[in-house]
Amino acid sequence: MDLQKLVRMANQIAANLDCGDEETTVAAVADHLRRFWTPLMLDELADGFESGEAELCDAAARAVERLVTQRRAGTA
């Protein structure tokens, strides 16, 4: 899928879930992505992030990292 569109969507989610507390925001973004995105969309975004092609805002980047870690650990 179009990586830049995924990036735009993820950043948009982070901007809208921004509650002023970064840790809470990151948790909310990760939860939202897990609940509403397909695993393939998450994988493609994570791959893009790891390869440096996806310019994610801090909260979205941390949420993606968290989901990748959880998925690798089999907890998400």
């Binding site: 899928m1 948009q12 809208n16 921004d18 509650c19 939202h32 609940r35 509403f36 995105w37 397909t38």
Partner: protein
């Protein structure tokens, strides 16, 4: 109240409307004792006692008028002969309805009427179905002593301008029922009695032909007419019906109940059902008149297949078409994986049909790639209301509006998109309720006869969240919140966080004015009015949801309602006005890729197990693709097969060129529809669907009301839609063996707690049911969140205003917003194939005179409408309805195709497209856009490929 086949009889009429009162009154009518609520008229009390007093000007749809003098009665102890329609009952009254004196007077009255009425009963269109004729019989009229040579109106010319009904003033008795229906029922005030005395006559507008007047063709006047003065053209053509079936309209989210009045397999007319709980006997031009599409010559009634979209269609048997489709889908999965296919359900289909499609996708396709067209309209409602209140649905019944003191309409245009509810809302406004309209455009409700908004907050498109935050800021900063309610019913930690957030000065009306363009003092006044209530109700539409912050705005609305205590009782609430007939139902039925029926997440193991056990399959625990994701995945080559039931994504979804690129990339597109719509032009399999008249099922309207859809005629294609889905499932190796949609509903009830008490038997008994319907609410639930919110404590969510990326630039200096018009419906596939085109045969671009002048544009000019997504050409309408800087159009016609211009921007939470904000430029042009030229050629090519199939069919039949 079973609505199954019943012999035709005109709907019972009790003469005057019901009155609500806790106190009752006992009286006798012709010696029969009857007890009725205080305020009831003698005419109605008699009817309730089974005694029909002759009447002509009275109807239980209209307030008493007292003009015809037929319903006179004698009442013990009262002087004279009071009109029973205007006389209220009193305790102990003794009423006589049949005496020699009354009989003589009634005959005299009828004699006068008939002296100026044609005596052509045998050739009259309403012969056998005429109240005047019936009354002449009832009073025993045998002669007209006055003769027929005097002055009369027998030569008055007919008005046939309206495509659906004829006005024959020669048959008018000037009872004013039509005028009163236009005022009281519809609220348009298009009719009047013109002239005085003998010259009195019914006139539309300024004594114009009906079509040229402000008449909205709702048909209330036709329904009210007791003679053949206002008569449906279909009745004139076909004669009186022979049986009736109660069913539910397939147009907007109001979900009107109708009596389909039928002859054999042919619908003579659709008459709104007076027992209909959503519409109470009223309808609009679409529901009452625009049903001709169901038998339009464009209907495709035989299955067709082809290997490529450049090949001619080939008509085949159902078995071959289903086998072809199933084979293609399995082939794709074998090559590209289980997740390479999916399905789209439609809000135009029944609950049972959408339930079956999502079951097909989950159980037979083995993934969760199922979505519904609610994705592109009200998906933010589901997200926003679920996360704040705990349930993805509106909180009220439509009737609740009659107890509202302050009505707020946000991003909705009820008079056009939900006309029957708009009539009810206008009735309440005429009773004195206050009105706040929040909309960039001056919709009709802002100012129309006897209705004027107290505040019209004409905000800039895309600034809804700034506005709702400003309203909440005023409530909190001025101490107008409902503290006790909040403390008792809401999550206080979340409230404190929200309160802190909202009180930030950046959310004040003074600060947000630069974004919204609405003067701060007006926002403050509106907020004070809403908070003061005491009953304040919010109604909203797609102008809320179809934004990049649609979900945030829905949460902001819920926050505001909670903060002011306006949830959980009649007259208040948060009510999304759903665009299509079954938006609520299609969402309820698990059409979203992350949710099973009843809004339960697919990732929840306990819920998933319940369905897996019932369906006998393992279910994928991960969310599937949403519609826009499907298109992106198709363009990327990851998604190759799609089953579309009843949707036209190529016209209705945004960024048309992206959508058609995605559809072109599919290896197998299966379209199940009535017509070869825009999407079907890209299809490999066409499965002929059935119209709402051709099947059984249920629709769920915007107030969570489940209403029966009953078969009126046999499906033209041979199968009801649920049967087609079932056949596809079986062909794919997943067995389905339902024999009737009631069995599907029984399964839904078994698996969905909010539907546990729903059955066809209960629907027959009650007429309709508002879910939740279960052991805790056996008769259903008109008002939600009464004692506590569904989620327990109401949750205030933070709603930061994040401006959309879609902003004006020197290249695209105007903002386009889109909407609907009364006479057309959604993509117009149905209404464009009816006489409704008399009102709207093309989409028009509304532009403010200032912007038009700058561009040298005059009304009717061809203009190019261009955005970064594409360009189309349509005619301009110059109007101050829109503010400078904003242009507006509808999306009902594929030739103008407004969605060529809309972009892929979407709501952050749900991917609901941002239809309501597109930066555009408008210029005067002399020819169609390049896209339109390409589309015209493509359409011609597809029409030719279709003709090939038809020709094959003809030669086969020869």
């Amino acid at each position: 109240m079973s609505g199954a086949y019943q012999r035709y009889a005109r709907a019972a009429d009790l003469g005057t409307p019901a009155r609500e009162s806790a106190e009752s009154v006992g009286l006798t009518v012709d010696g029969v004792a009857v007890t009725v609520p205080v305020g009831t008229t003698v005419l109605r009390a008699a009817a309730l006692a089974g005694i029909n007093i002759p009447k002509l000007c009275a109807s239980d749809m209209l307030e008493p008028f007292g003009s015809c003098r037929l319903c006179l009665v004698e009442i013990g102890g009262m002087k004279g002969l009071p009109a029973s329609c205007t006389t209220e009952v009193r305790e102990g009254m003794q009423v006589s309805t049949q005496t020699p004196r009354l009989a003589r007077i009634r005959r005299n009255v009828m004699e006068l009427y008939i002296s100026d009425h044609p005596l052509d009963c045998l050739t009259c269109p309403t012969n056998g179905d005429c109240e005047l004729q019936e009354m002449a019989g009832a009073v025993g009229l045998r002669e007209v002593r006055y003769g027929f040579d005097g002055a009369n109106h027998l030569d008055a010319a007919k008005d046939t301008s309206n495509p659906y009904f004829t006005f024959d003033p020669s048959k008018c008795i000037v009872c004013s029922r039509c005028v009163r229906a236009c005022e009281e029922v519809q609220g348009t005030f298009a009719l009047t009695i013109d002239g005085r005395g003998f010259d009195s006559k019914v006139a539309a507008g300024q004594d114009q032909p009906f079509l040229d007047s402000e008449c909205v063709s709702c048909g209330a006047c036709v329904q009210a007419c007791p003679t053949a003065t206002l008569t449906e053209n279909s009745l004139i053509e076909l004669g009186v019906p022979e049986h009736t079936v109660i069913t539910t309209c397939a147009y907007c989210g109001v979900g009107c109940s109708f009596r389909a009045e039928v002859k054999g397999q042919e619908v003579v007319r659709m008459v709104p059902n007076k027992d209909g709980h959503a519409n109470h006997g009223h309808s609009c031009v679409k529901g009452r008149f625009a049903f001709g599409y169901a038998t339009h010559r464009d209907r495709i009634t035989r299955p067709m297949v082809r290997d490529s979209i450049r090949e001619p269609w080939r008509e085949v048997s159902w078995e071959e078409a289903i086998g072809f489709a199933a084979g293609k889908l399995r082939e794709i999965q074998a090559r590209y994986g289980r997740g390479a296919i999916g399905g789209i359900t439609s809000s135009r289909c029944t609950n049972e049909e959408t339930y079956l499609v999502q079951k097909l996708v989950r159980a037979a396709f083995g993934n969760n790639n199922v979505d519904t067209c609610a994705r592109v309209c009200h998906s933010p409602t589901g997200y926003g209301l679920k996360s704040t209140l705990g349930e993805s649905a509106g909180t009220q019944a439509f009737d609740s509006v009659m107890k509202a003191d302050v009505i707020v309409v946000i991003g909705a245009n009820p008079t056009d998109a939900h006309p029957v509810f708009a009539s009810q809302m206008k009735r309440r406004l005429r009773q004195g309720a206050k009105l706040i309209v929040i909309d960039p455009r001056r919709i009709d409700l802002v100012r129309s006869p006897h209705v004027q908004a107290d505040y019209h907050l004409a905000l800039r498109p895309g600034t809804n969240v700034a506005m709702i935050n400003a309203l909440a800021h005023v409530v909190l900063s001025e101490g107008l919140e409902a503290r006790e309610y909040i403390e008792r019913r809401c999550d206080l930690d979340a409230y404190r966080d929200w309160r802190r957030f909202i009180l930030d000065p950046k959310n004040s009306p003074e600060a947000t004015e630069q974004d919204t363009g609405v003067p701060a003092e007006m926002v403050r006044a509106a907020a004070r009015l809403y908070a003061a209530g005491p009953n304040s109700a919010i109604y909203y539409g797609l102008g809320v949801s179809e934004h990049s912050q649609g979900s945030t705005m829905v949460m902001g609305i819920a926050n505001l309602a909670m903060a002011t205590g306006n949830l959980g009782r009649e007259g208040t609430g948060v009510s999304p006005l759903r665009g299509q007939n079954n938006v609520q139902g299609s969402c309820d039925m698990g059409s979203f890729p992350h949710e099973l029926p009843g809004y339960r997440h697919i990732g929840d193991p306990s819920v998933r197990t319940q369905f897996a056990d019932a369906w006998g399959v393992q279910l994928d625990p991960d969310p599937g693709l949403r519609i826009p994701n499907m298109f992106d995945a198709a363009v990327a080559g990851q998604f190759r097969g799609l089953y579309v039931q009843g949707e036209d994504v190529a016209q209705s979804d945004p960024d048309t060129q992206h959508v058609t690129k995605a559809l072109s990339a599919l290896d197998c597109l299966i379209v199940q529809d009535l017509f070869l719509n825009e999407t079907a032009k890209f299809a490999h399999v066409f499965l002929p669907g059935s119209s709402f008249l051709e099947k059984n099922g249920t629709f769920t309207n915007a107030e969570r009301r489940i209403s029966p859809v009953r078969k009126v005629m046999e499906p033209l294609g041979g199968l009801e839609d649920w049967e087609i889905t079932q056949a596809l499932a079986n062909a794919m190796g997943y067995p389905m063996h339902y024999s009737h949609p009631s069995e599907i509903m029984d399964e839904i009830a078994r698996l969905t707690p909010t539907f546990a008490g729903v059955s066809y038997a209960k629907l027959d008994a009650l007429g309709s049911i508002q879910w939740p319907c279960n052991a805790a609410a056996e008769q259903g639930t008109p008002t939600m969140h009464v004692d506590e919110f569904v989620r327990g404590k109401g949750l205030f969510r933070l709603t930061p205003y994040v401006p959309t990326d879609e902003r004006t630039t020197p290249m695209y200096p105007l903002l386009l917003t889109t909407g609907r018009i009364l006479s057309q419906y959604n993509v117009g596939a149905q209404t464009r194939r009816t006489a409704n085109v008399a009102w709207h045969d093309e989409d028009v671009l509304e532009i403010h005179p200032h912007d038009a002048e700058q561009r040298g544009i005059r009304p009717g000019d061809w203009v190019g409408l261009k955005s970064r997504a594409g360009e189309t050409v349509l005619r301009a309408g110059v109007t101050t309805r829109v503010t400078p800087g904003v242009v507006y159009t509808t999306f009902h016609h594929p030739e103008s195709a407004a969605n060529v211009v809309t972009t892929d921007n979407s709501d952050w939470a749900t991917n609901c497209p941002e239809y309501k904000v597109t930066a555009v430029q408008v210029t005067k042009v002399a020819k169609l856009s390049d896209w339109q030229e390409r589309q015209r050629r493509f359409t011609e090519e597809q029409a030719e490929l279709l003709r090939h199939a038809m020709a094959t069919q003809d030669s086969t039949e020869d």
